[in-house]
């Protein structure tokens, strides 16, 4: 068994409690179906994997079976993209029930979802759409997070999303909205450093203000991913494509996040034009090296 005993986090304690072998630290990789077989045959030195909940809600099949086999070797977290937490439609009961079954089967380290909406009047747009950061949206989102946490009987982590627009209304900054959500619901936060960077550039705010505006103790997991720069009407806009390497600016912001929040479980996400697993391992290695430095600095 290989654990990182000096890094205190929900993940490391989880690893120790469950005696999970092959835990090589806090740097993990997003689990994608095309890598299942290789993971099971090669057992790479990756600390943990994060599965998109919706990919495994079905009753059976090879992918679900492989997830459970991988679960025997590595800690797993479940990351939702389809619950549409911020929608003003009622939560879909079948989706919640299926998620509940999956959570009970997998016993994930974390269960996370997004500060977003994606459906209305029964139609799903299957995207992470931005909420206005208003009092009404905060009340609504708080009620929904509480409903899901009560249903699952455990804490949710809520992730900040990338966005390409802001609403014309009296909004509070995103970090204040998230801090209030934590206060209202007791949820944790999943800090996506790439999303934060994308938003800071797209909407012109200082990412460090965000880092200092969210409650330190609430942040339990970090995401890193690649984004793309597009030109629109003669202006740069950054699109969260998850189709490339983590950018140097995002690595720098990650370093600042580690200084503020300490070494936290960190995940490499790559969802489009998915490369060989070894490419993701190399990105995770870089995160691991920065986590080690952060641990050394803290000591």
């Amino acid at each position: 068994m290989r654990v990182e005993p000096h890094i205190q986090s929900p993940l490391s304690s989880h690893v120790e409690e469950r005696g999970t072998p092959k835990a090589a630290g806090l740097a993990g990789v997003g689990l994608r179906a095309q890598h299942h077989t290789e993971i099971l045959s090669r057992l790479p030195q990756v600390g943990w994997f994060e599965a998109h909940s919706e990919n495994y809600l079905a009753a059976g099949g090879m992918h679900r079976e492989q997830l459970l086999q991988i679960r025997c070797r590595y800690p797993i977290s479940l990351h939702g993209v389809g619950l549409s937490l911020g929608s003003t439609d009622p939560l879909k009961r079948e989706h919640l029930l299926a998620l509940h079954r999956l959570v009970q089967t997998v016993e994930p380290v974390f269960v996370s979802e997004h500060l977003s909406w994606g459906s209305i009047d029964g139609t799903f747009l299957n995207d992470l759409l931005p909420l206005p950061h208003t009092d009404e949206a905060l009340r609504h989102m708080s009620a929904r997070v509480t409903e899901v946490q009560d249903f699952l009987g455990r804490q949710l982590l809520i992730e900040n999303i990338s966005s390409y627009l802001r609403y014309r209304c009296a909004e509070v900054p995103e970090w204040e909205f998230l801090a209030a959500l934590v206060h209202e619901t007791g949820c944790g936060l999943l800090l996506d450093v790439n999303n934060l960077f994308v938003n800071a550039m797209n909407h012109g705010f200082d990412a460090h203000t965000f880092l200092h505006g969210i409650p330190t103790s609430a942040v339990q997991e970090i995401h890193l991913a690649g984004h793309t720069v597009m030109q629109l009407e003669g202006r740069d806009i950054r699109i969260d494509t998850h189709s490339t390497h983590v950018s140097p600016e995002v690595w720098r912001l990650y370093s600042a996040a580690l200084s503020r929040f300490g070494p936290l479980p960190t995940l490499i996400e790559w969802d489009a034009e998915i490369p060989e697993l070894s490419v993701l391992e190399a990105e995770a290695d870089q995160a691991r090296s920065m986590l080690e430095s952060s641990r050394a600095a803290a000591a």
Partner: protein, 257 residues
């Protein structure tokens, strides 16, 4: 500010092109117009939906080509947007949509190929269950045979068509070389799809076997399913058919009364 629900309805309408009351007035321009900002989300919706449908219907995509498939996917989106946060359900109405789209045309067969592809998708994620142990049948008294009810496993689907859909499907797997020509009059095809621990297999079976399995799937007893199979094929050999079906791993738990 608009109530949140109004805002979400206007936003979705804009993305689905059924725009009645515009959301654009409620979005800041900030150097890039509100229209261009919303277009990013509309493009995401179109690209994501088309990609998902293409993953579920790769043979249809290959048969009609990427450009026309994208047109079909966006036309389908207008009638059948996703009703779930789980994208696995998106393609369920697609075969029916194609059937209407290509009724009375030379491309009618596409709907049947799509039914086969959707059955494949359903098999991939169906509940796991054990195959019937042949020993079980030996313990059943002979006078109970006529009331046997064979259960079709949840990871099994039956698809038939007047067209050679299995041949079309096989010829369009990514590793397969495309034949120059498939004669559409060389059907019908009766296809059984089964997922076992060894993988998901598609098999062409005789019309009588298919009729028997269709009867079992509808909950019929062996006696009634056999009658229907014999009406389809007077030479139908029940013993041989059951052995073939057992070999494919079609049957699950079986009861008799």
């Amino acid at each position: 500010m608009l109530p949140l629900r109004d805002l979400q309805q206007r936003f979705a309408s804009r993305l689905l092109e059924t725009d009645s009351a515009s959301v654009l007035d409620w979005i800041r321009a900030d150097g890039i117009s509100a229209l261009a900002r919303v277009e990013i989300y509309r493009n995401n919706l179109h690209a994501g939906f088309t990609k998902t449908l293409g993953l579920e219907f790769p043979v249809i995509q290959r048969l009609v080509g990427q450009a026309y498939f994208t047109q079909l996917a966006l036309a389908f989106l207008a009638y059948h947007p996703s009703r779930s946060g789980d994208l696995h359900h998106v393609g369920a109405p697609f075969p029916g949509f194609l059937q209407k789209q290509f009724a009375n045309t030379d491309y009618w067969y596409l709907a049947d190929v799509a039914r086969l592809e959707w059955a494949y998708q359903e098999c991939l994620v169906a509940e796991d269950s054990d195959c019937l142990d042949p020993q079980t049948l030996r313990n059943i008294p002979v006078d109970a045979y006529s009331n046997l009810r064979f259960t079709i496993r949840s990871a099994c689907r039956l698809v038939d068509s007047p067209f050679p859909i299995l041949r079309i499907w096989e010829a369009n797997q990514s590793a397969a070389a495309l034949p120059d020509f498939i004669d559409l009059t060389t059907g019908p095809d009766h296809v059984v799809l089964v997922r076992t621990p060894a993988g998901l297999h598609l098999s062409r079976v005789p019309a009588g076997d298919f009729q028997l399995l269709t009867g079992f799937a509808a909950g019929q007893t062996l006696e009634h399913a056999l009658e229907a199979a014999l009406s389809r094929d007077a030479q139908f050999d029940l013993g041989a058919a059951l052995r073939r079906c057992m070999g494919l791993g079609v049957f699950g738990h079986t009861t008799f009364y």
